[in-house]
């Protein structure tokens, strides 16, 4: 009786409206704004900006490098999550809390660290140079920067799944004589796959957008080491906001399509 007002329908509606408004104001409006702005002068200038070889090559390069960075993070992230959940060793909790550090560190500082540790004056960079390949200011450095800033996503997505996994399925698998590899691929992997895909998608999107670390460690040379985010920054700096918006739209659309596609594949896989 006293609490009936708490159950009033208005609360539900109010809550829903707030959440929806939040989405619209924070996410839908700005993104729609970019689309509207980039087409504000019609299709022709949009096409001119997007068909600029420097622009689309930057987008392609970014997609490729982000994909490599994501694959590395999926492999490494799965392994690290596995170790952090399944093994008990001194320093585990410390390591576990260190995982999130790349989020806390300004990415420009991350970029500087890469320069310092892998530059020609460092021993890693020195060895690489003697072997005849360059790290900093070339594509490897961009991938490393992307891996660094997206490091926590996959780990944090898999960890809870591993922790809550029912041990009995795994035990049953061993009892029935399955090898360790077979158990991993047929029992464990399917259970953590949503985490891998979800974390990987986040990592991929974040890698596409990375600017602070990349601009420092990349040579920013068109078609070789100029990523989309740095290109967009350059367009803004040289007062071509329309060009910046157009390339942003290209990047946004491509990644939305990709996310949507992965989503569909995942959903179908779930039903099968």
């Amino acid at each position: 009786m006293q609490t009936s007002w708490l159950r009033h329908k208005g609360w539900t509606y109010g809550f829903r409206t707030t959440v929806l408004l939040y989405f619209v104001i924070l996410i839908v409006l700005p993104i729609a704004g970019v689309y509207v702005y980039s087409f504000s002068e019609g299709w022709a200038p949009f096409w001119e900006n997007v068909s600029d070889p420097i622009a689309w090559k930057a987008v392609l390069l970014t997609l490729g490098l982000a994909l490599i960075a994501t694959l590395i993070n999926v492999l490494l992230g799965t392994m690290i999550a596995w170790v952090l959940v399944r093994y008990r060793f001194p320093g585990r909790t410390v390591l576990n809390s260190l995982v999130d550090l790349p989020f806390a560190l300004p990415t420009a500082v991350g970029g500087l660290m890469i320069l310092l540790l892998l530059g020609p004056n460092s021993w890693v960079g020195g060895i690489a140079e003697r072997l005849g390949f360059d790290i900093v200011f070339h594509q490897p450095a961009i991938v490393i920067a992307m891996v660094f800033v997206t490091f926590p996503f996959v780990i944090r997505a898999i960890q809870p799944l591993l922790e809550e996994m029912d041990a009995s399925a795994e035990e049953a698998s061993y009892t029935l004589g399955a090898s360790r590899a077979a158990t991993f691929f047929r029992v464990i992997l399917p259970q953590i796959l949503p985490g891998i895909i979800g974390g990987g998608m986040l990592a991929f999107s974040r890698a596409l957008a990375e600017f602070g670390a990349v601009v420092l460690v990349a040579g920013n040379i068109p078609a070789k080491t100029l990523t989309a985010s740095v290109f967009i920054y350059g367009e803004v700096e040289s007062d071509n906001n329309l060009g910046a918006a157009a390339v942003s739209v290209l990047l946004l659309t491509l990644s939305l399509l990709l996310l949507w596609f992965i989503n569909r594949v995942q959903r179908r896989g779930g039903r099968a």
Partner: protein, 363 residues
């Protein structure tokens, strides 16, 4: 990223839509930095000055920071002696283009010190600075410099001029004029050196030759950095054999302990950096008198000496005489007029499909 919310999303059945939106939000992060007008950079300018004390807001480009911070106490002392007023300063230092955009976007600077005339033009276009700003001494230019080449200690590759940068195996660094307006000086210098070369060979300036000259140097580019400072940072981490930047930048770094060999090519461009009172803002703040006095003070021997000590070439001839040995004039020195003036340069070199774009895209 909040760890908890991520977990909830991953476990809930409807997580996928959430993820798409989250990913979109992550992307939006770049767009915000990419597309927004610099309103975020607008700072409160402190409002109108109370009687007695006065606040002056300086919007300057980053390179001039050390000099301005040395000049401010000198001016404060002088102003106090003359009027009894205490001037407090609010200073903001950004890349020149960013600073100009911030002021246009609402950062209420009283005085603007920028690295090139084009950036002051942005302020006149926005009706913030009156068109007569060049009626100050030296056309409104407070400092000079030249575009120089910085090499490793002892100049192991024997680089003497821009043509040497095109030699096989030389790794060159310079900032991209697209991301750093100040870097236009660097590209102007190389392009202009090409024009000079063609003039010596054929008797007249040949833009096609100059473009090929720029292309041949650009073929050796190791990194197109975000700014002159970023180029120097990369160079000091061991990347590249030579970088193209302002003489004053190199001298300032050497003063801080870096070991650049500063090479002044025979053919190079004279850099001139302007300062102006932002008329719209001083009228709003009632700070015109002190702002004008501060800008005028930048041409005083005292201030010019500070600039000279920080690596700039003074515009004041008396002060220049005292520092002449440090700042030799290269025989082939040319100024922006040699390239046809800023308007022409902006159109032919830096317009959308201009020479610089063609060099970048390899056309």
């Amino acid at each position: 990223m909040d760890n908890g919310s991520l977990n909830i999303q991953l476990q809930s059945g409807k997580r996928k839509k959430g993820l798409v939106l989250l990913a979109a939000a992550a992307l939006w992060g770049t767009l915000l930095t990419g597309c927004s007008t610099p309103e975020g950079a607008a700072k409160d300018a402190g409002g109108a000055a109370p009687k007695g004390d006065v606040t002056l807001v300086i919007g300057a480009y980053s390179v001039v920071k050390d000099s301005v911070q040395d000049i401010i106490p000198l001016f404060q002392k002088k102003w106090k002696e003359e009027t009894g007023q205490t001037v407090t300063f609010q200073e903001s230092y950004e890349a020149s283009g960013t600073q100009a955009r911030a002021i246009v976007g609402g950062f209420e600077a009283d005085v603007a010190l920028l690295s090139l005339e084009g950036d002051i033009d942005k302020l006149t276009k926005a009706k913030l600075v009156n068109k007569d700003w060049k009626e100050k001494p030296d056309n409104g230019m407070i400092t000079r410099s030249v575009v120089a080449i910085g090499t490793r200690e002892g100049n192991p590759l024997g680089i003497r001029n821009f043509a040497d940068l095109a030699k096989p195996g030389v790794k060159v660094l310079y900032p991209n004029p697209k991301t750093s307006g100040g870097a236009q000086w660097d590209i102007n210098a190389i392009y202009g050196a090409g024009l000079k070369e063609s003039e010596r060979k054929t008797g007249k300036k040949d833009p096609a030759f100059a473009k090929d000259f720029l292309k041949s140097v650009h073929a050796n580019i190791e990194s197109l950095d975000k700014s002159g400072r970023a180029s120097m940072a990369a160079f000091e981490y061991g990347v590249g054999d030579a970088l193209v930047t302002y003489e004053n930048e190199l001298l300032a770094r050497n003063k801080q302990g870096a070991k650049y060999e500063v090479i002044i090519p025979d053919d190079t461009i004279l850099i001139e950096n302007p300062a102006a009172v932002v008329d719209a803002n001083v009228d709003k703040h009632g700070t015109r008198e002190v702002a004008e006095a501060f800008v005028d003070f930048l041409w005083s021997e005292q201030a010019q000496k500070v600039f000279a000590e920080n690596g700039f070439r003074p515009v004041n001839q008396t002060v220049y005489k005292a520092f002449e040995a440090d700042y030799p004039v290269p025989p082939g020195l040319f100024d922006i007029q040699y390239l046809g003036g800023w308007k022409e340069v902006r159109e032919s070199l830096y317009s959308k499909r201009g020479v610089w774009y063609q060099v970048l895209a390899g056309i």
